[in-house]
């Protein structure tokens, strides 16, 4: 059988810097093919060469045996290649149908748009995905998950032979991921190939047939997923020794041995309009308190309430200083930091430099006679760039130009510069590559050893189980259990969450 897509010897340079060198990729018809690699390994460059966003400097691209040269999104669509980006490229104010058919509208005999046929076709495709929505409503009214499925519906409607999914699951909850996966399986049955890019290795085992590993702009190997192990893939991605990784555990964290210090903050019966319905927790000095639970259980909402972002309807937050934590400025004055989940929306200030981003939360402390003390500012930025090994061309580089992992380190530096007493970390390692993840975890561990208290939110249970000294499990906006390390296992945590899920149903 001929491969659907065959890319051989692809090379690409940006202003003399090698982004791809001798990269090869073959995709068979009807297979789900994963590409994995650290940030900067060349995954997105390779895809952009395939979809015509970048022009290649060397190599060949063939589709079904024929030379392929694509230079625009339109040509890619016409060739049967559809891309579902991490940030959806749809038009939220227009209807679901319009988003599916845009540019390829069915016409009546008079040459006008045949809306009936358009709605029918859209409805038909979505029904096959198990989605029953009003296709005449604006797309923006629906959840990210639905929007993603609409993007896929568009691909199906255009009779795509290859659907590229770039980090498609990063903003979905477990159930939505299930739906997405069943759609992917459906595509596969119809003979459509899927190219799947994800940071989550678990997903790869659930849904992918083959995997291509990239490192430093090269494709290192392609395997049948069934023949690989997680450890083996990580080793190939990092180019590191397997034994070294195994010795360190899956994460760089190790909770459960610190002596609990005095209570710094106590929250009782938190209720908010954002969905908290009774959360109790206590944060002690020098410990990591984990917040466990599923998406929508109230983890981020708890963090926001503690930081003074959402007002309490009832309940109490007692800080050892006696200060009322009812706005972020007060929280920051009390040396509480909050590393938010979505670094693009409420984390980085894209056009400001690395230096300015690091010192943004401590500006009041840097004031000297009305102006910012620049020497001190540079000193602080320089210190954290070195201490956290932030890879940047210099502290004056705009943060938007850094990789995801390094942006996250800058944000971590921002809060560490505050010399915080309590640091709230909401998904601190989401969307960063494996290498940066280890580094970030190590930084957290060192800071906690030095006396920092951390409230850790993570969807990766291994991070919670290995990292936290205690875990408060949340369920529908309530704290339902508290688990203690050492001795915690992922199975135990999942068990508690599932058990309460069930009792909820029973009650």
């Amino acid at each position: 059988m001929t491969d659907l897509i065959e890319m051989t010897g692809i090379g690409k340079k940006f202003a003399g810097v090698i982004a791809l060198s001798d990269a090869n990729l073959s995709i068979r018809p009807g297979e789900v093919h994963a590409i994995i690699g650290q940030n900067g390994a060349g995954k997105s460059t390779l895809i952009k060469v395939l979809t015509g966003v970048y022009r290649r400097d060397a190599g060949d691209v063939r589709m079904a045996g024929r030379d392929l040269s694509i230079t625009s999104a339109r040509e890619a669509q016409d060739a049967g290649i559809a891309t579902i980006y991490q940030e959806l490229s749809l038009v939220p104010l227009r209807s679901v149908t319009e988003n599916v058919i845009m540019g390829y509208e069915p016409r009546t005999r008079l040459g006008l748009i045949d809306w009936k046929a358009a709605h029918d076709r859209t409805r038909q495709i979505l029904t096959r995905f198990g989605v029953d929505i009003d296709v005449t409503r604006p797309l923006g009214e629906y959840s990210t998950a639905i929007q993603q499925l609409v993007a896929i519906a568009r691909a199906v409607s255009l009779k795509a032979q290859l659907v590229i999914m770039d980090e498609a699951t990063s903003s979905l909850d477990d159930q939505e991921i299930e739906t997405l996966f069943s759609v992917v399986r459906g595509l596969k049955q119809d003979g459509v190939a899927v190219l799947y890019i994800s940071h989550f290795l678990d997903e790869l085992y659930r849904i992918c047939d083959r995997v291509t590993v990239m490192r430093d702009g090269r494709t290192v190997a392609t395997h049948d997923v069934a023949d690989t192990t997680k450890l083996g893939l990580v080793t190939e991605m990092l180019g590191r020794d397997a034994g070294e990784i195994q010795a360190a555990g899956l994460t760089a964290l190790s909770g459960g041995h610190s002596d609990p210090g005095p209570v710094l903050l106590q929250a009782t019966g938190l209720r908010t309009r954002t969905g908290l319905r009774g959360v109790d927790l206590t944060i002690r000095k020098g410990e990591i308190l984990g917040l466990g639970g599923l998406l929508g259980s109230g983890r981020t909402e708890t963090a926001r309430a503690l930081f003074g972002l959402d007002p309490l309807v009832s309940g109490q937050i007692t800080h050892h200083s006696g200060a009322a934590l009812d706005n972020p400025a007060t929280a920051i004055t009390q040396r509480i930091g909050f590393l938010t989940e979505d670094r693009k929306v409420d984390g980085i200030i894209p056009h400001l430099s690395v230096r300015e981003n690091i010192t943004l939360a401590i500006l009041p402390q840097l004031r000297k006679g009305g102006a910012i003390d620049r020497a001190r500012e540079r000193e602080i930025a320089d210190h954290y760039i070195k201490a956290l090994q932030i890879k940047t061309a210099g502290m004056e580089q705009p943060i938007r130009e850094l990789s995801g992992g390094n942006q996250q380190k800058v944000l971590l530096a921002r809060w560490l510069a505050l010399e915080p007493e309590i640091l709230i970390l909401d998904e601190p390692t989401r969307g960063v590559d494996v290498g940066a993840k280890f580094e970030i975890q190590s930084i957290i561990r060192d800071q906690v050893a030095a006396g920092l208290s951390v409230l850790l939110i993570s969807s990766e249970f291994e991070e919670l189980v290995e990292g936290a000294d205690r875990i408060v499990v949340l369920q529908d906006g309530r704290s339902v259990r508290e688990l203690h390390n050492p001795g915690l296992t992922q199975d135990a945590l999942i068990g508690v969450i599932a058990q309460h899920q069930n009792s909820e149903v029973a009650a």
Partner: protein, 331 residues
């Protein structure tokens, strides 16, 4: 690049490639003028050029702050017309009363904008459109739609006619002080940093405990105050309060800001490049006047506007080319 370089050029021309175009175009135009026209570099041309353009520079710099937060201020032209009348009425009491009085009037309208935008959450485009109409009407009402002559016996006349140390017009000196002050404010204070942060991500800035509401209120008041000062310059330059002037000034100011490489979405831009943008747009007129003076061609003021529009487009194109080149280099 060393991390601890005390003077980093790229830093000072914030945005690097974004503003490189305006400086290049400005330098090229000055060079062209110097080589082609005998009197271009003469004291008379320089001082009258600066005297006339001072009000546009001041307005543009105020506008720059508003745009950096992602907002817009459409009221500046009307405010300048209004405050020129205020300044003319106050001129018998001398410059020491007329100048602060008119600036305060501008500041007050700016405060109204701030109230609408920050407290009432009305989109800046609409809020300042309303005050634009209001200030325009106010100027016509208090002047009876007539130009109001300044008191020629007072020291107010010195502002537009006299020179500091027999060298530069007073308007240019005051403008320079304002520009330097605002440059320091933007680049060196936490208020300036907050303004930039708001444009980059208002939610993120608020999360860090920065006073985003205060900073937003500040930029509209600043813009109003700048427009007030421009009104003073207007009255002093023409010897009268001009209730019918100021039409389209807001667009010239936005053009200067944009030509200077400031993003209309906010977060990226600089005071220096905005001044360069304002000078550049003024210089196009200046050069066309010289060209008319040579008698070879004769362009009406209307055609001059067309040419200025074309020039604006050209510089913007140059900017985006240059910034794309730097972007590529860095990615």
């Amino acid at each position: 690049m060393s991390v601890t370089t005390a003077f980093d050029l790229r830093r000072h021309l914030r945005g690097g490639g974004h503003s490189a175009g305006v400086w290049a175009a400005l330098a090229a135009l000055i060079l062209f003028g110097l080589l082609r026209y005998e009197n271009f570099g003469g004291a008379y041309n320089i001082s009258s050029f600066l005297n006339y353009n001072a009000m546009f520079i001041v307005i543009s710099v105020g506008m720059c702050f508003v745009i950096l937060t992602g907002g817009i201020d459409l009221s500046v032209g009307s405010v300048a017309a209004f405050t020129s009348v205020v300044a003319a009425y106050l001129s018998p009491w001398g410059i020491q009363i007329a100048l602060p009085g008119a600036v305060m009037a501008g500041l007050a309208i700016g405060a109204l904008n701030a109230f609408f935008v920050v407290a009432m959450r009305i989109p800046p485009f609409i809020a300042t459109l309303a005050t634009m109409l209001g200030a325009k009407g106010g100027a016509l009402v208090i002047s009876g739609a007539q130009t109001i002559s300044i008191d020629w016996g007072s020291n107010f006349t010195k502002l537009g006619m006299g020179k500091a140390f027999d060298l530069l017009p007073w308007t240019a000196v005051i403008t320079a002080i304002v520009v330097v002050g605002l440059w320091i404010l933007l680049e060196r204070t936490s208020l300036g940093r907050t303004v930039l942060a708001i444009g980059g991500g208002e939610d993120a800035a608020a999360m860090m405990g920065l006073n985003t509401r205060g900073a937003k209120a500040f930029v509209y008041m600043l813009s109003g105050g700048c427009a007030g000062l421009a009104g003073v310059f207007l009255a002093s330059g023409f010897g009268a309060g001009q209730p019918l002037e100021g039409i389209g000034w807001e667009l010239s100011a936005i053009a200067s800001v944009v030509v200077g490489g400031t993003l209309l979405t906010g977060g990226l831009g600089s005071v220096g490049a905005t001044v360069a943008g304002a000078l550049l747009l003024g210089l196009v007129f200046n050069i066309l006047n010289f060209e008319n003076g040579r008698g070879v061609i004769s362009l009406s003021a209307y055609w001059q506007m067309v040419i200025r529009g074309a020039f604006l487009l050209l510089v913007i194109l140059l900017q985006s080319r240059l910034s794309r080149a730097t972007q590529k280099e860095l990615s």
